[in-house]
Amino acid sequence: MSGSKKDYSIFEDDIDIRKFDLKLIWRLTHWIAPYRKQMLIALGLVLLAASAAVLAPVVVSRVVVDGILLPASGTPAPDFGQKALTLWLHKVTGLQPLVAACGLYAVWILLWALFGHGFRIALASAVLRGLRDLRRDLFEHLEHLPSSFYDRVAVGRVMTRLTNDIETLFELLAGFGVLLGEFVPFFIAITIMLALNPALTFELLAILPLAAIATVIFRMVSGTVYRLIRSSMSRLNENLQENLSGIEVVQLYGREELNYETYSAINKENRDQENRAIKIESYYGPSMDSMAFIAIATIIWFGGHNVLSGTATLGSIILFAQFADMLFRPIVAMGDQWNVVFRAMASCERIFQALDWDEALKIPENPVPLPADLKGEVSFQHLDFAYVAGSPILKDVSFTIAPGEKVAIVGPTGSGKTSLIRLLCRFYDVAPQSILIDGIDIMDIAPGDIRRRIGVVLQDFHIFSGSVYDNIALGNPTITRADAERAAQLVHADGFISTLPQGYETQLIERGRNLSHGQRQLLAFARVLAMNPDILILDEATASVDTETELVIQDALKKVTAGRTSIIIAHRLQTIREADRIVVLTQGKIREIGSHEELMALGGTYKTLYELQVQDVTSM
């Protein structure tokens, strides 16, 4: 039921994950799994690409240098079949050995490029589709969360989970591909180097911890600065946003200079932090590509003596020099991905938070379908309701609306009028047998079935971007253009629609801001009539609609309620008098109920009210 103890505040919290939690990321495999074929292909291709990438320099150094240019030098060392392949090419094609070696080299380069490309696009395809599915699942989940959820949680907090957070995951998974693309060649190169010259390989690997330590120190030092930058950046943006939203107040109250000073102070703070981060990065970045130089110096010194002593070939030394760069790239790449991983974990947390939110309406297992020809009898039986346990909104509300009857509900703000309507539309769960439509408990009917038959003009209706027609039909394919026009005529909306540049095809901007409030309301009205509901509910919004529009709406109201079960929340005496029955609701309880005559005879609140107004009118 309502008032369940859920902690909605988790949607407001800033999530900043500092501990590595693989479980969060592991859960993503659920969405990647359907595309495991692509993932396997990608994995295969990255192995092939890396092998080709490593074999190309082997051809240059071992075949060309050792075999062709300096055939006498060095001892026999592994060449991974490259010499044999060159020889074979030479025999088959009759090309000179040097040309044959070049041909082989060309093949490896081409395969490296092709397989590498294949790997990247296979990975992108799997990841993009997996995340698209994740977005679909999350959206589907959010779309079905009940009103009680959206009552509490700001839309902005939910929205970013579908957009920015999923985007961060893409960065993570793409970064994973980058790592794979660096690590695989690294391991293959190490294998080849070990086979060629284990001693020199170990000497080179000794430099690795240096790079690793530099990276770790860099991460530690820069982590704090990055956090500070994020914080000053968001303060900067908040300040600007507020200043823009309240620009009128700012200007009216002469705060321009003071606000500018505050902003400048944050801006300066941010600049100084950025410069600190740059300083740290400038120490780190060039130190990483210096590693390759150290490696080459090592190779010349140690490797050179190996060559002179005949334990290594010159070609293998050249090969080592070519690999020097490759050795440090995984560490650099890991450093680069570090921040992404932590940001992605926070994003995962937010996404799963929303996805795991199990708030739902009670949906009947075997819903009773509403009859095709609904009579339209609505009955409230001892209905109690509270949004938050302990502060009841409706208390023991009982009354029945006969088919075709028109009932007006009057009551002050907060008396529970709107809640009554939202319950009838099945936006919340109610106790069994407390609301019945044609004698069927609404808890036994599928919520969608109810909403398809009840047309309700809410106070907080929404106009979507799209054409006027789209806004009347709202995606329902059975509502034709003619239906929409008829509905618009019924509420006198056709007048203003025909003055729009493209009539029914005029594009409205979000929230219909290019229409007046009254026009928007007429459109919302037409939208409900177009679905030709069996039961009509109007939550009369009167806040700032001018009198003329109000009169137009009143006129339309009379036409469409004829012969239809209608519930109208009204403030105007005229509308109220025209109702078959009047329900006076205060503080969640029915105070009086009956026809105008009955209530006048009763001599209660309604009578006082009526007389006050009549007196007011006749005194003029």
């Binding site: 839309v155 107040v249 700012v250 200007q251 941010n270 010159l314 539309c425 329902n476 205060t586 006050l612």
Partner: protein, 615 residues
Amino acid sequence: MDTARPPDSAQTHTKTRSKHPLWRLVPLIQRNGRRFWGGMALINTGRLLEAFMPLCLKMGIDRMAAGDTRLAFPALAILGLMVLRYFSFNFGRRFVREVGVEVAFEMRQRLYWHLELMGPKFFAGFTTGDLMARAINDITLIRQMVGLGTRLLFVLGFSGIIAFIFMLNQSASLTLLLLPALPFIAIFGFVLANRIFTQSTIVQQGFSDLSAQVQENLNGIRTIQTHVQEAHEIRRLNDTSSRYASDYYRLMFSNSALNAGMLAITGFTTLLIVGFGGAQVIAGTISVGTFTAFIFYLGMMLSPVKEGGVMVTLFQRGGSAAARIFEILDHEPEIRDADDAAPLDTIGGSIKMRGLSYRHVGRGKEREGGWPALSDITLDIKPGEMIAVLGRVGSGKSTLLRLMVRLLDPAPGTIFLDGRDIRMLPLAQVRSQVTLVPQDPFLFATRLGHNISYDNPERAIEEVWEAAQSADLETTIRRFPERLETQVGERGVTLSGGQKQRASLARGLIRETPVLLLDDCFSSVDTETEEFILSRLKTLRAGRTTIMVSHRVSTARHAGRIIVLDQGRIAEMGTHQELLQRNGLYAALERAQGQREALTQTLEKSGAIEAEDAS
């Protein structure tokens, strides 16, 4: 420049509008010219130092091949080069990036101050979201272009030249072999880079479409659920999301193809060196060392080319970002001090209007014509009067008030404050002497007390309490545990509409200005509270001018004089009684509203009685 002083507003819109936006960034870079060019020089020195490395390698290899044991020199020379190169790059990159940060800093400062001066016409054309996006994303793009793009540009040129010279020095014939490959690399790189730029624009657009759709959907979730359109909406989002994924895939494909293509081209160029260089080694014209050095030079020349795509993208994006920022900076403030404006010593609070008319600017095509909001208003208000302005929606009430504080600019010689045309007064004086409490009670996300003393944070706490009391907000504030320190807005307490309105009112009352304008400030306040505030206001504002706009007759009753506006003209003017007797528009409004108010009041009272019965 480190001053927090607002930049001279004349400086923010230069007269160089016809120039390409990138050129307009040059002066900003030049302000830090020494650091920028120093950094560039250091980076290129680093590149030059790098060019000596293959020479050392060559020496080492040739010595190895010759059986020469003097290997310490090349090895140590490489380490020495490494150290020098490290510092060149470290400081060079740092300096250039710092200039990028400095430019971004400066742009933010200018943009912010410029926005502070903009008027309602400007803000009607640019939404907050749009301006925020420019301030955040576009400035970041400019920073990246200045801090990284320029470096890549110079390195691309310089490295190519250095590598070329060094190669030429080693073997002219081999170097010339490379020349035919260069145009291919350039053409391929630039074609793909352009394509990537177009595709990434599509992807960015796709992402904002996706965000817009999600946002709109969630904002209208009630309507969607009411009309059982969930399935339709899910389908629609899936379409957008799938389109986005496939656009993104195309972008990734091009990116990857650029990578692969560059790899293949550079690979084949290396092939030429291996083939012809190898032949020359066999022929004995070059050494194995030279051969190896050549392969390294090639890498050095081609590695910046591989980043050419990144560079082009940085410049293209940076350019359009700069254009978007300058578009804002080029808007001149609509409302500014006249050249010969001079302040008055004291303001008494008399207001005179002479034939005041105002036309709203139309949107889009009808921008030229607009529609009239006020026509020919002539009015005299004596100091100390309390005036109510009444009328239907769209009758021009708010416009009238906004003209009096120059949120909208009246025509010269139409509004006079103490006998002086308000256009001849400094804007700062008008706004410090005439307080408008706007219709929308906007509160800042800060402490409640700060919101009330917004015009001057230095105000004594007693003043704040007094203003709160006058706006009937005191009891509300006392109920909050942190009183005036209570944080309002998203991260603090959410105030009700009525509470916000009263806080906004307190913010206006605290200024005690000679003229106070209230734009429909009681719409969310119940009638009883309104009565209380208005009666206090009468004593509080005695001797000072107060003008209240309202659509409630109950508010108007309190005023000494009531002005009824209809379609931008003064339809009726007089006291409550006079206007009722006239039986015109005011009387009609009184009747229509009387009904609704009576109904609400009666119900509220009956509710209250019941609540008492129950307790």
